[in-house]
Every structure is written in C-alpha cells, then in structure tokens.
C-alpha cells in the first residue's frame, strides 16, 4: 500500500485555518474534463472510486454505506469495493457492469476535474462518443494481465477520431503481475505500435493499481523502476486544449436575439473561438454583411474583451440582419458556407443509416435538412481496414458525403469543433442517430451553379391556363391507386387540363429499372419520381403519381421540393385485409409464401399519412366515386 500523507490533497489544513485563502485558491482553479475507457473489468470504476476516495470526496456516511455494500455485493471480499461508489443505476449494481456514461467530480489544489466514466461494452460505444466529445484528455485503461485488447483499440481510435490529443495509457492491476516492469514495457511497446498506426503522435504510459492505489496520487514504492509522474500529477499539468481556442479567429454562433425594447438589439451566444472587442469589424454569415461591435454586454457590466468559452451578448453599430443560426466572425477571416461535405460519421442508433433519406443536421445553432450518400467505406476498428458498405449500423464508423438543402456556415472539425461537429436527428422519431465531423466541403457545391432561364415556371403554367399540382397517391399495394389516378386523369383531360400520370410499375420499367425493393432503393425510387414530378410541375403540368411510397419521411421530402400548396397527398386508404383479398397481381400470396421479400404490409412497414389533403376509402366507394370525390376536393380551379 502507499502511504497516506500525500501532498496533493492536503487542503484540509488550509480550509480549517484560512478559508478565505482557500476560496481564493479554489476560485482560480482551471478545469480539466477527461474520460476513462477500457474493456469490461479493466477497473475503471475502481480507479474513479479511488480518485474520489483519495481526494476526500467521499463522506463518512457514504463510506459507511460503502463498507456495508462491499460485504453484501462487493467483488473484493472483505476489502472496500470502490466500484460500488460509482456504479449508479440499480440494473448496473445487479449485473456488476457499467451501462451508461456517468460524470464524477473532484478537486485538487490546482484543478477541478470532471470525469466521464465510459462503459467498455461494444454496444455502448455511443455513450463513449458522448463522453469523449467534451473531454480534454482520455485515460485508456489496460488490464496488465490481458494487454491490448480489441476494445482498447476501438476506444483509442474513437478518442483520436473525436480529436482528443492527450492520451494516457494506464496499465492497471499491476499488483496482480507483481509490479513486473517487463509486463509493463511489453504492453507499452505493443500499444505504441498500434497508436502510431492510427496517427496518435504521443501518449503517456503509467503503471498503476486503482485497487491498491499505486501511482495514483503518490509514487509507489512497488515500482522503483518507474520515474514518471503519478496519474494526478499528470492530470494537473497537462494543457487544457480548449485554452488554445482563444488564439483562433473569432467565431460566435448566434443563439438568440436579445430585444427587450426598441433601444436595445443584441446577439447572444457562446464564443466558439477567438476574442472580440468593441470597435472591431465583424461579418455576419452567411449573408456576409459587416458591422462594428459597439458593446460586449454581460449582467456584470460591459467587457473590454470577450474570449473563447464565454457566453456574451454583442451589439452592433448598424441595424443589419442577424438571427439564430447565423455566425458572427472576424471580418477579414470568416468561415465558408457550403452545402456538400465529406464527413466522418459514428452511427449511434439501432436503426441503420438509410442513404438518401433526409435527416435533420444540427451544427452549432444551425439546423438544416440533409441527406447522407451511400458510405464510401466503414472502418473496421480492429484492423483499421476500410470496408465497402451500403449502410452504417449501430456503432459503425464510416466516411460518407452529406448534402444539405441549404448552405451552412462551417469549418473543418480539425480546426473548430463547434463549427465542424454535428449530429443527425431522425425526422420521425426525433432520436439523435449519428455524430458527424466535417472533413472538408466538396468542390461540386462551389462549381455547379443554377443556370437561370427566361421562361419561368409561372410562364409555363400561364400558357396552359392552370395551376400546376402534384397529386401524390399513396397506399398499400392493391389499394387502387393506379385505377383511381387513371380515373382522375380521364376527368381532368375532359376538363382540358394538361396532365401526366406517373405510375409506379411503369417507372420501374425505365427510369428506375436499376432499383430493387430494399429500403434504400425504395427511397431513391421516390426521390427520382419526386424530382421528375417537380420538373413536370415546373413545365406547368398537373402530375398524378401512383406509388406505394410507404415512408412518411420520403413523402415529406417530395412535399418540401415543391412550392407551398402544390403537393396534394391523396391517401388511398384501404385496409390490409381488403387489399390482400383483392390481390390483383398475386403479390400478397407470393409474399405470404416467402417468395417475395420486403413487401409492404407483410414484412415491410407502411406509414399512413397523418394529415393528408385528401383521403379516399376504397372499401366504401368505387374507383369512380373516389375520383369524383378527389375532383370535388380540388375545386375550385383557378
């Protein structure tokens, strides 16, 4: 065991003798956020429990409870099981594992620390990414008896990917290998080789025992061959990465416009990088308008200078447009805006990535609609090989291009975490499905411009004397979409309307004959039909489309392509039993027999419209009646 008179935590005397001096000291402490990660049973919880215990963050009543618990459910015999201090949720205590990232706090004389305790199980990688995204440093734990494992590689790679540059390799459980230098050196050599291969330039290796307390706060007598710092000494000295942000160009993503009365208009946000002073010229992006900062406002009085990491409110000399989502930047070195990017994605959701589907992309204070292309590759985190994939499953890491529906102000993640890191949000479930990092924007976005033409869509429509529409028929196979759409088109034709009917089966004979029936192919099918319908509407036509189009997200995608009011969702609402009983094409029988995969209503879902413009029930009306109903609903014509 180590001795207990260690200098790092001896603050009690100061607290007792001169509390004012202690508070003065505490007030000026800096903060280091770090994560601990490693495999199951590497002793993470024990190490953190030890740090809390040694830094006197454990109170007597907690200690008493701990001693009782240790005897009851502990895994260390009669000795104190520090892991019980931090394994919080009841489910975890029963299973003896850690299932969610937990945050812990302790102080030394120099710093306040926030520790994210990250679980080692592969299925909880998403929690590790969460913990790593706010960390300045990572402690990678290795069990001295086991050496570098698959999880060690995975976690190291993830930490490096998220941009953590301070890596500590803590070779734990040294007490169980008799503090053998040979074991330690071999592990360090092994890890160094791996680290180099993934681009980790340097790391600090320490031989420790969380259970016995070796080299945590005091140099261990058991490891005379080790000359380096203790874990705490290292954590106290290491540079906090975020303190470098102040030296970068000024950027402030606008969160909120502060307008209490007509005399005050301020722009509130957290300074992502750089500094700002009254009198400096700034540029608002993406508009590019410039103005001069007049005040840096806080409740405690105006500041002479705002620095990275502070939440402030800026006032300008001019009344220029600026709202949430805009970025205020130094005028002569602003970030770029683009709508297409090469990104690295970490998939965090049970539902895999669906290429082509629109997700919400949130970056800083900007939220846009964006689609992910089929990934270029995924990374096998055990071998670091690039693997060709069609999608990204839970915990997968891959590189893919992203197309946003409008330009966003960004910087590469390596330059600026705030303007380069983003999350993807499922539009239907609202779940956070992926974490992403922008590598660079694609030149395509800058080089392909829209060519304006003189004859506009309004001119086309005027000549045809009609208002363009897209009547989007959706419903199960056999619901009667094509039949009813055909009836509606006949009636419109008689009424001298210029129409065109796009039928699902027909389109698959030509334009979309390269597509199958997987979820991704179905989405691409709808995207192409949507684009085609839009071109036809641009030409002034009334377009009728008859597609199952089972997913809400894609129907909404097409709606968003068109001007307000032009997309008319027609829900051909037929119960599955009715459609299946009709089975005009014999497809339901095939699907039931298992000869047809991914059939809507059988082994692939249909998401009915929540609020369609028109709904017809074919169990209650004939195709002719349904068509009449639709025509009446569309009246009056312009």
């Amino acid at each position: 065991m180590t001795d207990t008179t260690d200098p790092v935590y001896v603050t009690e005397a100061l607290i007792a003798e001169d509390i004012e001096a202690y508070l003065e000291q505490h007030q000026h402490k800096t903060m280091l956020r770090f994560i601990t990660c490693g495999s199951v049973d590497d002793g993470k919880s024990t190490l953190i429990g030890r740090l809390l215990y040694d830094s006197k963050m454990i109170f007597e009543d907690q200690l008493a409870a701990l001693e009782t618990d240790s005897k009851k459910v502990g895994t260390q015999g009669q000795e104190i099981d520090f892991a019980l201090l931090v394994d919080g949720l009841a489910a975890e205590r029963e299973q003896g594992i850690t299932i969610d990232v937990a945050y812990r706090f302790f102080n030394t004389e120099k710093r306040k620390f926030i520790v994210a305790d990250c679980p080692g199980h592969e299925q909880y990688t998403r929690n590790m990414v969460t913990g790593a995204s706010t960390a300045d440093l990572a402690v990678i734990l290795i069990d001295a008896r086991k050496g570098v494992l698959v999880q060690t590689r995975r976690h190291s790679y993830l930490c490096h990917l998220i941009g953590i540059r301070n890596i500590v390799l803590a070779v734990n459980k040294m007490d169980l290998v008799d503090y053998d230098q040979g074991v330690f050196d071999a592990i360090v050599k092994d890890y160094a080789e791996f680290a180099r291969s993934i681009g980790i330039e340097s790391f600090t290796a320490l031989p420790i025992s969380g259970f016995k307390g070796d080299n945590i706060t005091t140099r261990s007598a058991q490891t005379p061959w080790y000359q380096g710092p203790t874990l705490i000494e290292h954590l106290e000295r290491v540079e906090v990465i975020t303190s470098r942000d102040a030296d970068k160009p000024f950027r402030l993503p606008v969160q909120w416009v502060n307008r209490p009365n007509l005399d005050f208009r301020g722009f509130s946000g957290l300074i992502a990088s750089g500094t700002v002073k009254p009198g400096e010229t700034v540029r608002v992006l993406p508009s590019g308008k410039t103005s001069t900062v007049t005040r840096v406002v806080t409740l405690d009085g105006d500041l002479d200078e705002g620095v990275a990491g502070q939440s402030v409110t800026l006032c300008f000399a001019d009344e220029i447009d600026c709202s949430r989502g805009d970025v205020i930047a130094v005028a002569d070195n602003p970030p770029q805006a683009a709508d297409q990017f090469e990104t690295t994605l970490v998939w965090l959701n049970d539902d895999p990535l669906i290429p082509g589907r629109a997700y919400w992309l949130k970056l800083g204070t900007q939220t846009v609609s964006a689609t992910v292309q089929q990934p270029k590759y995924a990374v096998n985190v055990n071998t670091m090989e690039h693997v060709a994939v069609k999608t990204l499953e839970l915990n997968a890491i891959g590189v893919a291009q992203i197309i946003a529906d409008k330009p966003i102000v960004f910087e590469p993640y390596a330059d600026n975490r705030t303007l380069g890191g983003f999350v993807l949000i499922d539009k239907i479930t609202n779940a956070t499905v992926a974490a992403g990092m922008i590598q660079f924007s694609l030149r395509r976005a800058q080089n392909v411009h829209w060519q304006p033409t003189d004859v506009t869509r309004a001119d086309h429509a005027k000549l045809k004397n009609q208002a363009p529409k897209v009547l989007w028929f959706t419903g199960l196979s056999g619901a009667g979409k094509s039949t009813i759409a055909n009836e509606v088109e006949k009636r419109l034709n008689v009424m001298n309307r210029h129409t065109f009917l796009l039928d699902g089966d027909n389109v698959r004979h030509g334009l979309n004959k390269d597509l199958g029936f997987t979820e991704a192919d179905r989405i691409e099918n709808i995207r192409r039909v949507g684009e085609l319908a839009k071109l036809m509407a641009d030409a002034g036509l009334i377009v009728l489309t008859a597609f199952i189009s089972p997913f809400r997200a894609e129907r909404e995608m097409v709606r968003a392509m068109l001007p307000e009011g032009e997309f008319v969702e027609v829900f051909v609402d037929t119960p599955l039993e009715v459609a299946e009983a009709r089975d005009v094409k014999g497809l339901y029988k095939k699907a039931r027999d298992g000869q047809l995969k991914n059939f809507t209503g059988i082994d692939s879902p249909y998401e009915p419209p929540l609020n369609p413009e028109i709904r017809v029930n074919t169990a209650e009306m004939t195709a002719e009646q349904a068509a009449e109903h639709i025509i009446r609903a569309l009246m009056p014509w312009k």
Partner: protein, 309 residues
Amino acid sequence: MSKPTDRATLTHIQRLEAEAIHIMREVVAEAERPVMLYSVGKDSAVMLHLARKAFFPSPPPFPLLHVDTTWKFQAMYEMRQRMATESGMELLIHQNPEAAEKGINPFDHGPLHTDMWKTEGLKQALDKWGFDAAFGGARRDEEKSRAKERIFSFRTASHGWDPKNQRPELWNLYNARKNKGESIRVFPISNWTELDIWQYIHLNDVPIVPLYFAEERPTYEWEGQLFMADDIPRLEKVLGYRPEITMRSVRFRTLGCFPLTGAVESTAKTLPEVIQETLLTTTSERQGRVIDKDAGGAGMEVKKQQGYF
C-alpha cells in the same frame, strides 16, 4: 467597464457559468413553453441568477414555478416573493389540491407526503400550464442516478424517465426535438458541485435564504434527528402533542419541508464560515433529507422513473 478577462485561462467557475447560460439560451430558442422550477433553495438561487445573466438586459423569458407543499419554512416563502419581484419574472405557485384535501403531511404519511405534494404536484403543474421544457437545478454530484442523467432529459407523456434509452449528447449540441406528449427536464448546472455552488454565491453575492446561516432557533428532536420548530401551533396540531423545544444555534445544509429537513448545530454566520463547515463536514449533503433512504440504494432512481424531478 469591469476588468478584462485573463484570456489564457478561464477558471472552472467561468466555464461552468458559460455552459449553463448557453444551455438556457438553447432551450429558450428551441422550446415552445419553457419554465424554471424554483424551490427557493441555494441551487435555485444560482439558477435564477444564471437566468438573469443569460438574458440580460431582458428579463428571463419564462416564468418561475414553485411546486409548494405548504410545509416550507416561512423564510422561504418570504424569499420567494422577494426574488420574483427583483427578477421581474412571473411567479406561478402550484399546490396539489388532492393532497390539500386529504391533509397529507410529513408526520402521518411519510413517503406519501413527497409523492403527493412534490411528484404528483409537479406533474399536475406541468400539465396544467402545458410546459414543454422545465429547468431544474439538479447536479450530477448529488446522487448516483443523477450522475448518469443527460442535461436534456426526456420524459414520457406520463412524466416517466427511461434511463436506458437516453439520447447521446455530444459536444454542446442539444437535440431538443420532442415527440408528441413528451417534455424535457433541463439541468443547466449538471456539472457543478456543491462547492462550486457556494463559491458562485460568494463571488456573485447571490441572495440566499438566511436559514443557511447559523442562528439561535427553536428546535426539537424527532426520530433521532434535529428539526426546527418553524410553525409551533401547526406542529402541535399534527403531532398531537407539543414537542420539547430547545433554542440551539443551528443552520441548514439543504432546504425543503421543515419537518423533513434536518438542522445541524453550527456557529457559521458568514458565507466563508458556512463553506468552511461544508468542506470539513463528514456527512454528505442530502443526508439531512429523509427522502433518499425510502427505497434503499435505488431510492432516487425509482422516484425519477415515477416522475419526481
């Protein structure tokens, strides 16, 4: 103008403050109807101060909500009124009518008192005014299950918490999109410790209830703990007898219902003295509260799944 900031190193308190303000602004920008839960305690005092900083010179653009149990200390009711006036914010007060009708009290009803007045009362209040986001002053250092809770914590329509299905929270990006019926509890001071709270109050002269400072107060003993006799006639009525009352120099480490909040004997009359005593103490903060012990080690986790804040 105030003194320029030391640009190289923001202190931990400065970083924590900036983070909390950022979180509050995100909620106001993205939620439809936010509210700040206000319990009149020291954490609430800090939350209110942060809110005033976040939106200055505007008043915070949301109301304060106090879920009252009718059993708070008199000094807390006085502070509540004072702070609502000073901040210029609307103060909403909710008392569970069912609990009032049944005369639920901490002596006769034990855990039911907290359940009815606070857990049920809170749900009723959020539903009554239709709030979709509620700021709370919970900290991750307070209790084991809190340590694992996200800053944006989602609740089902029935206010339940599903700890195994929390959204990943990366960088300082918060996904505030809700499904129908869901609401969000937001904890801007998640990463603060008790010491940080005290230090912040000290540095910013944040007004707090005088009960945190030692003073000669009427006290009585009940079930092995020391309590303050804040309202003697009412105590007598509920207990059925007049407890033996002794004047002692006491203060409170945490504030709740006066019959449930244990007093500690103390002579700490100034903030530094209080902080000194807090740091040198040997029992954890919530020990003065009876609530966590109700259901063994998993007390708070169970309460949260049921909708306790």
